[in-house]
C-alpha cells in the first residue's frame, strides 16, 4: 500500500513498494501518458514532475515517495492542453510518432519553471530525452515559442 499525491489528488494504491512510480501511474492509476521505453532512466519517455522537478519515473520506487510530494504527469500539466508548451507544440506540429513527446513536454516544463527564458545552451544541458523520429529542432523552437506566448500573455 502506498499513498501518493498525483495531479492534485491523494490516492491510495495497493502495490508492492518496490514498484517503480511509472508502473503505478500506468497500471494502478490508468495514467498512460507517461511512457515506458528503457526502464533504466536513460531515455526520458517516463518523465514526470515531483514537486516541480523533472524525474524519470521508471527508476523511482513508490517507497521513495510520500503523500506530501506532488507528482504531476502529462495528464495533470494542464486541464485542457493549454500549457504554453502544449500550445506551442500544437502550433509547430512538433510530434511525429509522439511516443516520447509527453516526456519531452514534462522535461521542458520543468526547465521553464526553473529558467523562464532558457538559452539554446540551457536547453541542450537540461533536455537529454531520446527521440528516434527526430523532432529535436521543433522541440527547441517549441520551447522558445512557449516562452514568447507566456510573455505576450496569450496563455
Amino acid at each position: 500500500m502506498a499513498t501518493l499525491n498525483v495531479n492534485g489528488e491523494t490516492v491510495d494504491v495497493e502495490v508492492d513498494s518496490a514498484t517503480p512510480l511509472l508502473w503505478v501511474l500506468r497500471e494502478q492509476l490508468g495514467l498512460t501518458g507517461t511512457k515506458y521505453s528503457c526502464g533504466i532512466g536513460a531515455c526520458g519517455a517516463c518523465t514526470v514532475h515531483i514537486d516541480g522537478e523533472a524525474v524519470r519515473s521508471c527508476v523511482v520506487p513508490v517507497s521513495a515517495l510520500s503523500a506530501s510530494q506532488a507528482v504531476t504527469t502529462i495528464e495533470g500539466l494542464s486541464r485542457d492542453g493549454s500549457h504554453p508548451l502544449q500550445v506551442a507544440w500544437a502550433e509547430l506540429d512538433v510530434p511525429q510518432c509522439g511516443y516520447c513527446q509527453p516526456g519531452f513536454i514534462m522535461a521542458a516544463a520543468a526547465l521553464l519553471r526553473s529558467n523562464p527564458d532558457p538559452s539554446d545552451a540551457d536547453i541542450d544541458a537540461s533536455l537529454t530525452n531520446i527521440c528516434r523520429c527526430g523532432t529535436f529542432n521543433r522541440v527547441r523552437r517549441g520551447i522558445h515559442l512557449a516562452v514568447g506566448l507566456d510573455k505576450s500573455g496569450e496563455n
Binding site: D16, T19, P20, W23, R26, E27, Q28, L29, G30, L31, T32, G33, T34, K35, Y36, S37, C38, G39, I40, A42, C43, A45, T73, I74, E75, L77, S78, G81, Q86, W89, A90, D93, V94, P95, Q96, C97, G98, Y99, C100, Q101, P102, I105, I123, D124, A125, L127, T128, N129, I130, C131, R132, C133, G134, T135, F136, N137, R138, V139, R140
Partner: protein, 726 residues
C-alpha cells in the same frame, strides 16, 4: 451494408471498454477513432474511402499506418482535395484488415514501408475522393431535379449555379450512398490543389500533447492480463525448461507459459508483476549451434567475400577491368557498416484475445494485412475468423512491417488463456536482443581516373548480408537480392547518381545467422556512405573540388544535379566557411526522390565533433504537405546521424551485446545541428520522403569530417573513434 462491419467492430470495442468502468480506462482515447458508435451506424459510406456524417463531418479512411511520418494527414489531404470537402470537418479512421479481406481488398495495400505510403496509393485514394464528390453532386442534382452539370461543390457545399441554391454534403450523403458511381473520374492538376500541397497541420497532434493518444503499449481492455517474455538470447537457441514453481506464488502471477520453441512468458495482473516474476524465473536454454558466433567471425566471413569469385551483379557498364588497368591513377578503399537496431521508442507489443473460433489482435503495425496473417497462423484459425485493430505506432522504422513475431507470441500466449485478453509488452532488453537488424556489409571500391582526373572506371564489391534471403526468399532474382544495391542500380527508384563509362557493382552474399530486416532507409544508408565518401576520396586524391568533380559525372542526371546545386548554392560552396568549420557534400536518389545535403562541422583538438549546420534539398516530384516533408528531412538527420555516431550492434557468443540505450545511445538535442530544408518539387513523379534524406546525412558529415581532419573514417559507428588520432 459493408460499412456495418467497421461500425460493429468499433461499437463492440467501445461498449466493452466502457463497461469495465474502472479508473484504468479513464481519460483514455480509444485507438479506433473518436466517432460515436450510434452515429457510425447511421452515417452513409459514400465509398470505401469516404463516410459523411449527417452533421457534415467527413470521415476519411486511411489504410496505411501512421508512425510519425505524417502519412495519415497527407493521404487525407489527397482524398479531401478531390472530395472538395471542408478540411476543418475531416476526421480519419483506419479500416481493419479483416474488413479488407471481406471486401476484396477494397483499400489496397496496408503496407507502410519503403516510403510508399503516399507514392504507392495517391492515384486510387484521389479517385476515391473524386468519385465520392461526383456522387454527392449527383444526389443534390437529383433532389433539385436539375442537370448535374449545373451543380458544383466546394468546401462540403453543393451549389446549383443558375439558382444559387445550396445544400451540404451531410444533407445529401444518404442519397449519394445509394447511387452507382461513374466508371471514370478526372483528377485535378496538382497546380490547382487547395488542400493537398499545402503546409497544413497534422490531424494527429493534439492527442500526442496531453497523453490521450493510446499506443499499443498503453492499451487496456476489460479483464486484460499482462505478459512479459524472454526468448533465448542466443540466435537459434531454444527453451529447454523453466521452474515455474519458484514464481507461481508471486503477487499477481496467473500463468507461466512456453511460447513457441524458444521463449517463456509470465502472465500476471499487471505488467510490472509479470516482469518481476520473469526476472525471478529459473530458465535453462539450449543455446543451439551459434554460440561461437561473434563480430570477429562475421568480419572474417565478410572479408573473404570482398575478393570471392561468386557474386551477383547489380550494375555493369563497359569493361571495368581494362579501364582500371589503363587508368593513370587508381584509388582503393574498404568500408564497413555494422548491424543496427531499429530501437523504436515504443518496444514491441501486441494484445490478443483468443477463443476456439475467433482471434482478435490490437497492435501497432506497419502492415495490418501481414499482422492479420500472422495472427491467423498463430491462432490456428482462418484469417476470416481473425481481426486486427491497428493502433498508431510509437515508431516503426521497418521493425513492425515485415515482422510480426510479437503478434505471433501474443496469440500463442492468449491461446493458453482462452477468452482472456492478454497484452504482451517486450522490455527494452528483449527488443534489443531480438531485433530484425539492419544487415551488415563491407564494400571494396576501386576507382580509375585518367590523366585529366576524369573517372573512367569504378569497381564496387559489396560483401555481406541479404535481407530478402532471410525474409522473402521468393523475391530474390535468380538468387540475387536487388535491394542490396539500393542507390547503385542502373535505373529506377534507387538509380546511381553518376554516369561512369566503365562500371561494375556486385554483391558476394554472405549471410551470418543474425536475423536481418528492413530498416528506415535500409541499404541506401550504407551504400550512400560507400559511394559518396568514395567520390570525395577520388576528388581529393586528384586535387579536385568535390562539387565540380561530381557535377561532371552528372550531366545525364539533371534532377540529382539540381538538388546538389541547390544545397551548394544555399550553403555558399566555394566561399569560405566560418573559422574552423568545414563542409562536406552528398547526393543520391532514393525511394524515387532526389536528395542532397551539405554539412558544416568542426572537430576540435581532442577530436570532439560538432555538427553546426545542414542544408538539405529534396525533390519528391509532388509535395503533398511541405511542412511535414521538412519535418521528415529534419528527422532523417536525427535517424541517420544517430546511426553514424552510435548505431552499432556487436555480437559475442551468439548474442547481441547492446541491451539498452546506455550501450546503444541515440543522438540528443545538444548534438542536433540547425537544418535548412529546401523542398523543391519538380512535378511529374511521386517520390517518398520518410527515408531518402537519411542516406545523405552520414556521408555529408563524414566528408566534412575529412575536410576538417584529413582523416578518412571507413568503419562505423563513430562511437569509439577518435576523429583526430592517426
Amino acid at each position: 451494408m459493408a460499412d456495418r462491419h467497421v461500425s460493429i467492430s468499433r461499437r463492440d470495442f467501445m461498449i466493452g471498454t466502457a463497461a469495465s468502468g474502472t479508473a484504468l480506462v479513464l481519460g483514455m482515447y480509444l485507438p479506433l477513432g473518436g466517432r460515436q458508435a450510434q452515429a457510425a451506424e447511421q452515417a452513409p459510406e459514400i465509398n470505401a474511402w469516404v463516410v459523411i456524417e449527417p452533421d457534415d463531418r467527413v470521415i476519411i479512411r486511411v489504410a496505411r499506418s501512421e508512425m510519425g511520418q505524417g502519412t495519415l494527414t497527407g493521404l487525407a489531404q489527397l482524398v479531401a482535395e478531390e472530395l472538395e470537402c471542408d478540411w476543418s470537418k475531416v476526421e480519419t479512421e483506419y479500416p481493419t484488415p479483416g474488413q479488407s479481406l471481406a471486401r476484396d481488398r477494397v483499400w489496397g495495400s496496408f503496407s507502410t514501408g519503403g516510403s510508399r505510403g503516399i507514392r504507392g496509393s495517391h492515384q486510387y485514394v484521389r479517385e476515391g475522393g473524386a468519385l465520392a464528390r461526383a456522387l454527392l453532386i449527383e444526389a443534390a442534382a437529383d433532389a433539385w431535379d436539375v442537370p448535374v452539370g449545373e451543380c458544383s461543390a466546394a468546401a462540403s457545399v453543393i451549389t446549383h449555379r443558375p439558382t444559387g441554391r445550396t445544400t451540404s454534403y451531410g444533407e445529401v450523403a444518404a442519397a449519394a450512398a445509394r447511387l452507382v458511381p461513374p466508371n471514370t473520374v478526372e483528377l485535378k492538376d496538382p497546380k490547382d490543389w487547395k488542400i493537398a500541397g499545402k503546409p497544413l497541420k497534422r490531424l494527429d497532434t493534439l492527442e500526442k500533447l496531453t497523453g490521450r493518444q493510446v499506443f499499443g503499449a498503453d492499451l487496456q481492455l476489460p479483464g486484460m492480463l499482462n505478459a512479459a517474455i524472454r526468448a533465448c538470447p542466443v540466435f537459434g537457441g531454444t527453451l529447454t525448461a523453466f521452474d515455474d514453481a519458484k514464481v507461481r506464488g508471486m503477487p499477481g502471477v496467473r500463468a507461466v507459459v512456453r511460447v513457441h520453441d524458444n521463449a517463456v512468458a509470465v502472465v500476471a495482473d499487471t505488467w510490472w508483476q509479470a516482469k518481476t516474476a520473469l526476472d525471478a524465473l529459473p530458465v535453462t536454454w539450449d543455446e543451439g549451434p551459434n554460440t561461437k558466433l561473434s563480430s570477429a567471425s562475421i568480419a572474417q566471413l565478410l572479408e573473404e567475400g570482398l575478393s570471392a569469385d561468386d557474386a551477383f551483379i547489380g550494375n555493369r557498364t563497359g569493361d571495368v577491368q581494362t579501364a582500371l588497368a589503363d587508368a593513370a591513377t587508381t584509388v582503393e578503399a574498404v568500408y564497413g557498416y555494422p548491424y543496427q537496431n531499429h530501437a523504436t521508442m515504443e518496444p514491441m507489443n501486441a494484445t490478443a484475445r483468443w477463443t476456439a473460433d475467433r482471434c482478435e489482435v490490437w497492435c501497432p503495425t506497419q502492415n495490418g494485412e501481414a499482422a492479420l496473417q500472422a495472427a491467423a497462423e498463430a491462432a490456428g484459425l482462418p484469417a476470416t475468423r481473425c481481426e486486427v485493430y491497428k493502433i498508431h505506432l510509437g515508431g516503426g522504422f521497418g521493425r513492425r512491417g515485415a515482422f510480426h513475431d510479437f503478434v505471433k507470441q501474443a496469440v500463442a500466449i492468449a491461446r493458453q488463456l482462452p477468452d482472456t485478453p492478454v497484452k504482451l509488452l517486450w522490455t527494452r532488453e528483449e527488443d534489443m536482443l531480438h531485433g530484425a537488424y539492419h544487415p551488415i556489409t563491407r564494400a571494396k571500391l576501386i576507382g580509375g581516373l585518367d590523366d585529366k582526373g576524369e573517372l573512367v572506371g569504378l569497381r564496387v564489391r559489396i560483401s555481406g548480408q541479404s535481407i530478402l534471403a532471410a525474409v522473402r526468399p521468393a523475391a530474390l532474382k535468380g538468387g540475387a537480392d536487388m535491394i542490396t544495391f539500393q542507390g547503385l542500380l542502373p535505373h529506377g527508384d534507387h538509380a546511381i547518381s553518376y554516369t561512369v563509362p566503365h562500371l561494375l557493382i556486385d554483391h558476394a552474399m554472405r549471410n551470418p545467422p543474425v536475423p536481418p530486416g528492413f530498416w528506415r532507409g535500409v541499404n541506401i544508408n550504407q551504400n550512400a556512405i560507400y559511394m559518396e565518401c568514395f567520390m570525395d576520396e577520388l576528388a581529393h586524391a586528384t586535387g579536385q573540388d568535390p562539387l565540380a568533380f561530381r557535377r561532371r559525372l552528372m550531366t545525364n542526371q539533371p534532377k540529382n544535379l539540381a538538388v546538389l546545386n541547390a544545397v551548394a548554392e544555399r550553403v555558399g560552396w566555394g566561399t569560405a566557411p566560418p573559422d574552423g568549420v568545414h563542409r562536406g557534400l552528398a547526393v543520391c536518389k532514393a525511394f524515387g526522390s532526389y536528395v542532397a545535403a551539405c554539412a558544416e562541422v568542426s572537430v576540435d583538438d581532442r577530436g570532439q565533433l560538432k555538427i553546426h549546420r545542414i542544408v538539405a534539398a529534396t525533390d519528391p516530384g509532388h509535395a503533398v504537405n511541405p511542412q511535414q516533408i521538412e519535418a521528415q528531412i529534419e528527422g532523417s538527420f536525427v535517424f541517420g546521424l544517430s546511426a553514424l555516431l552510435y548505431g552499432g550492434c556487436t555480437i559475442e557468443a551468439g548474442r547481441i551485446q547492446q541491451e539498452n540505450f546506455d550501450t546503444y545511445p541515440s543522438m540528443l538535442i545538444a548534438e542536433m545541428p540547425q537544418v535548412e530544408a529546401i523542398v523543391m518539387p519538380s512535378g511529374g513523379f511521386w517520390g517518398g520522403v520518410g527515408e531518402p534524406t537519411i542516406a545523405v546525412a552520414a556521408p555529408a558529415v563524414l566528408n566534412a569530417i575529412f575536410a576538417a581532419t584529413g582523416k578518412r573514417i571507413r568503419e562505423f559507428p563513430l562511437l569509439n573513434t577518435n576523429l583526430r588520432a592517426a
